[in-house]
């Protein structure tokens, strides 16, 4: 049963091949048996999941079943879940039991989905390897000595290990797409504002975006149809109606114009990764698409701009963790200053502290114009590159990450090397564009992701483009050795 996709589970439940309680119990058993190898879950909510599954079975029996009724999923631990620990991968929130559900979580509950628990992640979503979690690193099911990518590494690894068919995730600089690429799964970061951020613990508010990770583009479309939509509780959420993202999956892509940016195939790209991406582009040509060489001249500035803007926003967002109202508080504080300093010093991990300090530096008097303002100007130049490109092409394609999954610990001593793992994904966050990663082969025996970047609110076309590739290939059907 664990090999079924979400689409297959929906059919199986409706055809009464199995019940939601049966598939939920099966997945919970797999988590119990296998997850000690991967550490992809922080919290497993077994009892609650069985209750939700039983309720879903009752609705299915009545013929009153919403879209994902009875389908097991899991949430990245960045999404608040009522009555369940929501840690965001941090010691700071180790004791935090949320009093409310994030809008995304509520949407899945309304759709009848069953939550198996909360997946592991880099602390406050800061990382590209899932090694900064307070709960320990997540291991890649393709090779447990390697990282699964970050920060949604737990979500991606849980899907790759077939512990759950789909998960929620979030992407501030590539945190859905990069782990999807490194674990051979499919993940989509929607247009900024397409999915509500209410109840998703904020890292960098103008960049953060929730989205799904699953095994196929079709499953991603099913999940996105549930996640997306306007939300009165999030004033940055787009007030536009939601499409049925599964409606156009089978449309022909003949005549599709694919932009191929020269900057995404230069220095720093592993040659085998580049070769797999070129092969995928050739496959698209066979499906009737046309490749168009384009240039994104400011793309090399995306990483430096991001490492001003994201830490600046993080330093403001994370000021709420002060040891007063919730979360970790140090022992016996001498005075209020000591309470703040030690609670934050002891509660945050090294990467989080580093980014807060960088953000404080960029925003401090004397440096604001040179760093923060400059980065926001460069951000507009990056966005304009995309606006110009989309005058000529329908989608843009390239590698998701420059390398396949690297060894655990390999880049810990060099944060800048780690930051460069997001070199192809960050620009879309700065521009607010949707991006997706789907499996397109293997390099050095490890999965490689093909990145599809779409125009604003063009998720339906991206999913159609991804689905057509998956109809013509079987990379997304390959099973990680540790999942067998």
């Amino acid at each position: 049963m664990h090999q079924l996709t979400i689409a297959e589970i929906i059919r199986g439940l409706r055809d009464k091949q199995f019940s939601s309680v049966e598939i939920t119990s099966h997945m919970l058993e797999r988590i119990q048996q296998l997850d000690s190898q991967f550490n992809s879950f922080i919290t497993v909510t077994g009892e609650q999941a069985i209750q939700q599954a039983a309720a879903a079975d009752a609705r299915l029996a009545q013929g009153d079943a919403p879209a994902l009724c009875g389908v097991p999923i899991a949430h990245k631990d960045i999404f608040c879940t009522r009555g369940v620990r929501t840690s965001c991968g941090s010691k700071m929130l180790d004791n935090f039991v949320s009093p409310y559900d994030a809008t995304v979580v509520e949407n899945f509950l309304q759709a009848g989905a069953v939550s198996l628990g909360k997946t592991n992640m880099d602390e406050f979503a800061m990382g590209s390897s899932n090694e900064s979690s307070f709960y320990g690193p997540v291991k890649n099911p393709w090779d447990v000595t390697r990282i699964p990518g970050g920060s949604s590494g737990g979500s991606a690894a849980a899907v790759a290990a077939q512990l759950v068919p789909g998960t929620t995730a979030s992407d501030t600089g590539g945190s859905i797409r990069q782990p999807a690429a490194m674990t051979g799964t499919s993940g989509l970061k929607p247009t900024y504002g397409r999915v509500s951020r209410w109840g998703m613990i904020a890292f960098a508010s103008s960049l953060d975006q929730g989205g799904p990770i699953a095994r196929t583009a079709e499953d991603v479309a099913l999940m996105l149809s549930v996640m997306a939509g306007p939300d009165n509780k999030d004033s940055t959420c787009l007030d536009r109606p939601v499409q049925d993202y599964t409606a156009n999956l089978n449309d022909s892509i003949a005549g599709l114009k694919i932009g191929v940016p020269s900057e995404y195939f230069g220095e720093g790209l592993d040659s085998e990764v580049g070769a797999r991406v070129q092969e995928a582009l050739a496959a698209y040509e066979k499906l009737g698409a046309e490749l168009v060489q384009i240039s994104l001249p400011h793309s090399k500035l995306a990483v430096p701009a991001y490492y001003v803007i994201a830490p600046a926003e993080a330093s403001a967002n994370l000021s709420r963790f002060d040891g007063v109202r919730y979360g970790y508080r140090c022992e016996n504080p001498a005075d209020l200053r000591d309470l703040y300093m030690r609670s934050r010093g002891e509660g945050f991990g090294e990467e989080v502290k580093r980014r807060i300090l960088v953000g404080s530096y960029a925003l401090s008097a004397g440096y604001y114009d040179a760093y923060y303002n400059k980065a926001q100007q460069v951000r507009r130049l990056i966005k304009q590159d995309f606006v110009d490109a989309f005058q000529k092409v329908d989608v843009i394609m390239g590698p998701t990450a420059p390398n396949p999954a690297f060894k655990l610990g390999e880049k810990n001593a060099d944060p800048v090397a780690m930051y460069l793992e997001d070199i192809y994904t960050i620009a879309t966050n700065l521009a607010g564009l949707p991006g997706m990663s789907i499996p397109c082969g293997f390099a050095h025996g490890l999965p490689v992701g093909l990145q599809i970047i779409g125009n604003y609110l063009d998720e339906a076309r991206m999913l159609n483009v991804a689905h057509q590739f998956q109809q013509a290939s079987d990379w997304h059907q390959q099973i990680a050795p540790a999942a067998k």
Binding site: S315, P333, V358, R380
Partner: protein, 95 residues
């Protein structure tokens, strides 16, 4: 761009994050690496370019000025490390 220990101490104070004396050198060095990376921005001509604070030129969604949330004071107070008489408790700040 190098960051000296004094600057790190000042930033730590601004951010209200205790940094131990033993790690200050390492933190300085890593901050320097990050700032060296972001210094690439200085070479770009951005004359006349409007800063972009938000990725989409959208008007923020407004809602009616009505109270929609119930009072959940007790639930929120229950999350706090220390409370007393319905208030958050912190160390004494006035002598």
């Amino acid at each position: 761009m190098a960051v000296d220990a004094q600057t790190v101490e000042k930033l730590a104070e601004l951010a209200r994050i205790a940094i131990s004396k033993e790690t200050i050198e390492e933190v300085s060095s890593r901050l320097g690496d990050v700032l060296q990376l972001v210094d690439q921005l200085q070479a770009v001509n951005t004359d006349g370019v409007l800063p972009m604070a938000h990725p989409l030129d959208e008007v923020q969604v407004l809602r009616r000025d009505q109270v929609t949330e119930p009072n959940r004071r007790e639930e929120f107070l229950a999350l706090a490390p220390q409370t007393e008489a319905g208030l958050y408790l912190v160390p004494k700040v006035i002598d």
